[in-house]
Symmetry: C2
Subunit: 313 residues, 2 copies
């Protein structure tokens, strides 16, 4: 595969092609990943998540700026809220690329949060491998942290930065509690807005309730739009990463990530076999029977599962 060589040389077109290949989820992708895999393992992955409107994009822009000054080659994967039907990414690279478009050390790519067999995590994990093999030092995964995506980002990242913002009402409060367990570093952005201090106190309080936690989770205030607190954030990220590397927690995280990956690929493959077996016609027949109330769903499906497993040779 010529593409493999080009990726290892850091060729942007080849990388873009590889990511599309991953999104298309064909067998070509598998060969590609298997071929570049031995070259992976050097890049560090930051996951940046938080509710809509927290200013994640601006924060990522400022982090890129700063880390470029520090000489890093950076890839950004923006996991977009996507159309459940078309699977297309919405925000699009076009909104974000502009500022860094002429910088050969920055590659920004949107990926849709649906449509991939293995979910976001599947496609993102493979994309991370491509960037890693292509010589990027830092891979930033930015995603809206609500529901499903919030757990997927931790599966893929070495460190998770959870971005919160003051004054978003009750639902955000709940959300905040829900995502409280996933952050390694907590950022309260828009720190000049009303309620930033209160939010900081709340986050610290919630963190103090976490049981059995060995590592200290910093809570930092930033104003991304004013480039305020960015250097400090990067320095805290570095300290955190150094700590988890020394305690072997990072290595453990990465192995856990591989386990998730194995599970996802494995179940994806099995699902593929199932979908081959239970074709549209059969499904139609089963649904009709259940819809008409002729049979009860669980006992029926339990029988079918046993049959499926027996038929595999």
């Amino acid at each position: 595969m010529e593409l493999v060589e080009e990726i290892l040389n850091g060729d942007f077109r080849a990388i873009a092609k590889a990511i599309s290949m991953i999104e298309n989820d064909g067998s070509e992708k598998e060969e590609l990943i298997d071929r570049i895999y031995p070259k992976c393992g050097r890049a560090v992955v930051w996951g940046i998540t938080g509710p809509p409107g927290a200013g994640k994009s601006t924060l990522v822009d400022k982090l890129i700026e700063q880390e470029r000054i520090n000489g890093k080659k950076i890839a950004v994967i923006a996991v977009d809220p996507s159309s459940p039907f078309s699977g297309g990414a919405i925000l699009g690279d076009r909104l974000r690329m502009q500022e860094h478009a002429t910088d050969p050390g920055v590659f920004i790519r949107s990926m849709a949060s649906r449509g991939h067999l293995g979910g976001v995590a599947g496609a993102t994990t493979d994309a991370v491998k491509v960037f890693d093999a292509a010589g990027f030092d830092l891979i930033i995964i930015e995603s809206i942290g609500v529901g499903q995506t919030e757990i997927e980002i931790i599966e893929v990242s070495d460190i998770v930065i959870l971005v919160l913002v003051p004054g978003m009402g009750d639902e955000i409060q709940a959300l905040k509690a829900g995502v409280m367990e996933i952050g390694d570093i907590y950022v309260i952005n828009k720190k000049d807005h009303d309620g930033a201090d209160k939010l900081e106190a709340e986050v610290n309080y919630m963190l103090s309730l976490k049981e059995g936690d060995q590592t200290k989770n910093p809570v930092l205030l930033t104003s991304a739009i004013h480039n305020d607190g960015i250097k400090n954030l990067i320095s805290e990220i570095q300290i955190y990463l150094k700590n988890i590397q020394e305690s072997m927690e990072l290595q453990k995280k990465r192995k856990t990530r591989i386990k998730q990956e194995i599970k996802q690929i494995f179940s994806g493959k099995i699902m593929y076999e199932i979908n081959k077996k239970i074709n549209t016609e059969i499904m139609e027949e089963w649904a009709e029977a259940i819809y008409n109330g002729d049979i009860s769903p669980y006992s029926f499906i339990n029988k079918k599962v046993q049959t499926f497993l027996k038929e595999q040779k």
Copy 2:
């Protein structure tokens, strides 16, 4: 099962117990659902979704109030953003129950958006069956419409009401586009806020781009907090439901829902078999080998999948 009788009698304690059983996802649940299944099929399911802060909860409260006046017995399933690790629902019934706590015609229940084998859809679908069999006329599923949950709510609902709100910035814009395909009725809440007219125009424009759409999707303005536009919304919901019932679209939707359900239960069962086979020790070994770069992930897993399928007898 005594519980079955109690549920069919509409006993609230029995219903609560059944929902917990569903959340615990054991084999008891399967027997329960199979037993009540013949009594299902009467209730109508409304899905209400939208971004955090759109005022969905207030809207649901007002809809309940109005539909109680109309004599309906109502169950609400609030799909909460949940802790990815503990799987616990956060918002909690306590926040919401208060107003309707003394009303014997309203049952409100939070369910966590994670932790269930079949995802939200799996647990919610089963909960819907319990409420349906227990004689509720209307089941409202409220969920934050971002990412995964947005598609799951359509799998479970007869009609999806997408709640939007003016002035939430670019990310919400993107999100809006992303969820644009899932709504049957669009509600612009907080209509007295700046930008409501602009948002209405945008939504109408986006809807006009939908291809091959046979049904008309109403776009309505409400101010839930001022109880403004609620009656009109309910009337539009009724018209929409009547239309899709007459065109047989509703029946088709419900069959599609059953198909999803079959797939989810089926794959859940297979995953269970896989997890039995690939135990922690084996997984550890595989992850270690891949982590060390001794083997390439896809070719390795492909082989293991073949072995797994062959070993099933």
